[in-house]
Amino acid sequence: MIKLLIIALLIFCLSMLTLAQKSRKAFAYDYAIDDLPNGLRLVTVPTDYPNLVALYIVVQTGSRNEPEKGKSGYAHLFEHLMFRGSEHYTGQERDEVLKKAGADSNAYTTDDRTVYHEVFSNEDLDKILELEADRFQHLKYSPDGYKTETKAVLGEFNKNSANPEEKLFEVLRATAYQRHTYSHTTMGFIEDIEDMPNQYEYSWQFYNRYYRPEYTTIVLVGDVKRDDALAMTKKYFGAWKRGNYVPEIPKETEQIGPRENHVDWPSETLPLIYMSFRGPAYSDYNKDKAALDLLAPLAFGENSDLYQKLVLQEQKVEELSYSFDDHVDPELFYVSAKVKDLKDIDYVRQQILDTYKRFSSEVVPQAKLDFTRSRLRYEFALLMNSSEAIASSLANYIGLRRTPLTIDKLFALYDTITPNDIRGTAHRYFVDNHRTIVTLNTKKEVAK
């Protein structure tokens, strides 16, 4: 076999040593945190990946911050409006600057945060920070431009609506939550999206409340020096005025009985079932969330007994997965199954319920728990494969606690969880009164 060594031009000279060699810190990079007097925070993480800088601007505002009736979806709408231009740069001028920088530029919104991100050559950092500062402090859009953008948001809803899983998630949220803003997805209720064109004035109110330095953290990862980053941040964001708005997010009422809902889907699909219980909010000191994080792959992951049985042995289920993301407020712990045949749906449902119960009463073997801890650690380490990937992983934690320190605290907390903690937590959370089950299958007229 002839061998050839091809050398990449971008040689990684990573200073990071292996996890085993270095400390047990899950987030293995050095970083600096600088707070400006106006409340804006800058987190700088220099890496040895050359040339590129990843800029993530995290605003601690998501669909959670939409408690007013008829006003769901505005955090996400803003993710769009922020691209339409500002005082000193029209949308087009902004695009030109980013284009010259070869930037990959985009944004996303979740329940708890809105994140604006770009990756570009480090020589363009100053210009891009100037550009970002302008839209965060001096956004400008006309009533006509606003209305046009609301149509793009409707277009996004429409493209998502072809997917049965998106629909069922929407119904799960609306069924499980009755007061809290997690009752709507980040897209918002369709009737609110359709009403957006009439809400130009309200949109400014939303911007003035949340696009403020105290809600915002700038994360810079890559070929960047802290002192330079701080000087540029002060120069462009120093005059940004602090706000004073604190939203009143309604607390979810106590659920006093199990809930169910169903969706008839207009075209052929495999039946879906989502089974949820109310879970806790993110925490890096309270054990509940950490215990359930460890339980999730043990009980419902790909090497769990349930997965092996339903997917590999009996082959009644095509996909089985769980979801329990980190959230500011208490979030649902849910398991989803794509069932191959409608006649098996009750069986699958019972199997999932039995598994929830089993982990509420049985103690998991210590070895399995240790494997799971190892898995979570390596999972996180494997994410760190570029400056952008590091910034992107950080954004989640910055949105929750504004510091990478929370990652190390969380992983340290995982190390303290015992098999009994897991059983006890499952026992407290997986109770029938806090359960919501939703199903979806092809409506009768279409099913063959």
Binding site: M1, I7, L9, A152, F371, Y378
Partner: protein
């Protein structure tokens, strides 16, 4: 002028490299002299190991086989995909898939397969702590497969469900894009079926078909090993030695005639219960990444419709100015799963590509107007070409953006494998050097040369298929209304677009019920 493969800055890289990997550089310097030659590029097609050593604590594998769905035997459409799935998601001879999953679990590793027309790649990344364990698992999976009946039953069902339910019933955008490919490539062409296969052929498929495909295609002749990261020095040799276990074989051969299109526009409307209309249009081109005109055509596609970028022309006209949908893009290479990712996956190398415009779902009442608008803008591009300003800014963008595309070591490795396939130097160097040489005239020449409107193929997924068909064949006006006042320039243009003629014969607008697609 003779240039080495490494280019000018490559020398610096080489020096840096020497510091880090002193021993290996000796090995490499024995071979790279074959790499001289700027435009014929590197003659490395007869080598089958691509290595990107670095000091990362992660090690990435890309084990590539030069085979794929283009080599599915007739009547066995889907066997390439199913074989790859059996290897990556089935057990080995010694371990069941459950046992493999168990072993992967504490390492948080996985092993994926991706099957395209001519390439099948298996990829995964492990932390160096777990390299030996991980490698021994994937070695068993690839070289000593279990081919168990229960894995086969599960994965075959999954393959059928993907076509029947996920594509037909859950993703209008991907459906439209895939239907476009089936319109361009006739069933007799090696590209003439979906990578996943066809429902009927999959239903008839047996485990023996999979074994036969594995025997014939998973050979040393088809193999390229890709490895990146902080692996130990002797590791690549171990891999090479292990993979000699595969039969020697001969390179997979097949005919790939250019898919000549009959003149005229053809439209396929897929009828499905859905809120909106997804539109894809395009035609085959003779340019691939191996071609000297590819960088120029890349500028055109990026300017007209850079994927997921608000910077492109089409996006500005359809979404920003009119709010018709979520986005509008253009491509000169296959880009599956574009709705889920910002950058294309590597190792989708093809010797034939199409030019494609992707219009994301629009409100159904605007479907006809938007199709016309896309054709209007496309015709304008072909007629007027690009301006000097647009050319220069797009060139600058792409020169830098090449680095973004290879930001991870896994992407670097994927691109290096593709560069080997297309016989070009490493991707960012190639792009930087080729783009620097281009002129506006080059770019406007390739527009005239390769973008032809006389055989456009259009796939639309919508609910009211017959209404749309009727409107299209009769060239009915499709006026548009907005929820906000628009500048005069847009309204004037709308007047032209609402009556913009689509020259299509009545018999060339077909309606296909969704359950007949990929049958």
């Amino acid at each position: 002028m003779t240039r080495t493969f490494f280019g000018s800055s490559g020398l610096i890289a080489l020096l840096l490299f020497g510091i880090v990997f002193g021993n290996q550089i000796v090995e490499s310097s024995a071979t790279p002299m074959r790499l001289h030659n700027p435009m014929l590029l590197i003659d490395i097609a007869d080598t089958n190991t691509v290595l990107l050593p670095n000091r990362s604590p992660l090690v990435s594998f890309r084990i590539l086989f030069m085979t794929g769905s283009a080599f599915d035997p007739k009547g066995k459409e889907g066997v390439a995909s199913l074989t790859a799935a059996m290897l990556a998601e089935g057990g080995s001879r010694l371990k069941t898939f459950a046992e493999i999953t168990d072993a992967m679990y504490p390492m948080a590793t996985s092993f994926q397969s991706q099957v395209d027309k001519e390439m099948t790649v298996f990829s995964g990344t492990t932390h160096i702590d777990n390299l030996d364990k991980y490698y021994s698992l994937i070695r068993e999976m690839l070289l000593d497969p279990g081919f168990r009946e229960d894995d086969f039953k599960r994965l075959k069902e999954e393959a059928i469900n993907y076509l029947k339910n996920s594509l037909r019933g859950g993703n209008d955008e991907e459906l439209g894009k895939e239907v476009l490919y089936t319109m361009i490539y006739p069933a007799t062409h090696p590209y003439g079926h979906q990578n996943g296969g066809a429902v009927g052929a999959l239903e008839r498929m047996t485990l023996k078909d999979v074994r036969d495909f594995y025997q014939a295609n998973y050979t040393q002749a088809n193999l390229v090993i890709g490895l990146a990261g902080g692996y130990p020095e002797g590791f690549p040799k171990t891999l090479e030695a292990d993979f000699t276990k595969l039969p020697k074989g001969k390179p997979t051969a097949a005919k790939f005639a250019f898919p000549r299109q009959t003149l005229g526009t053809k439209i396929e409307i897929v009828q499905r219960e859905t809120r909106s209309s997804a539109i894809s249009l395009g035609f085959p081109i003779t340019v691939t990444r191996a071609d000297k005109d590819w960088p120029a055509l890349t500028i055109v596609a990026s300017y007209f419709g850079q994927h997921r970028s608000s910077n492109s022309y089409l996006y500005q006209r359809l979404r920003e100015a009119r709010g018709l949908n979520y986005g509008d893009y253009a491509y000169i290479e296959y880009f599956p799963r574009g709705m889920f990712q910002f950058q294309p996956d590597p190792n989708l190398g093809r010797r034939q590509q199409i030019f494609q415009i992707w219009i994301r779902p629009v409100e159904s009442q605007n479907g006809h107007f938007t199709l016309r608008a896309a054709l209007f803008e496309y015709d304008k591009l072909v007629r007027d070409g690009m301006s000097k300003e647009a050319f220069e800014s797009t060139r600058e963008f792409l020169t830098k953006y090449a680095n973004v595309l290879i930001a991870t070591q896994d992407a670097q490795l994927g691109y290096a494998l593709d560069s080997r396939y297309y016989h070009i130097p490493d991707f960012p160097t190639y792009m930087r050097e080729q783009l620097a040489k281009l002129t506006l005239d080059d770019v406007n020449r390739v527009i005239k040369q390769y973008l032809k409107s006389d055989s456009m193929r259009i796939a639309i997924v919508t609910k009211d298929a017959s209404g749309l068909r009727d409107a299209i064949i009769n060239n009915k006006p499709s006026p548009i209304t907005y929820n906000a006042p628009k500048p005069k320039e847009i309204l004037d243009e709308d007047k032209i677009i609402e009556g913009y003629r689509i020259n299509v014969k009545t018999g060339d607008v077909m309606i296909v019920p969704v359950d007949r697609v990929f049958e």
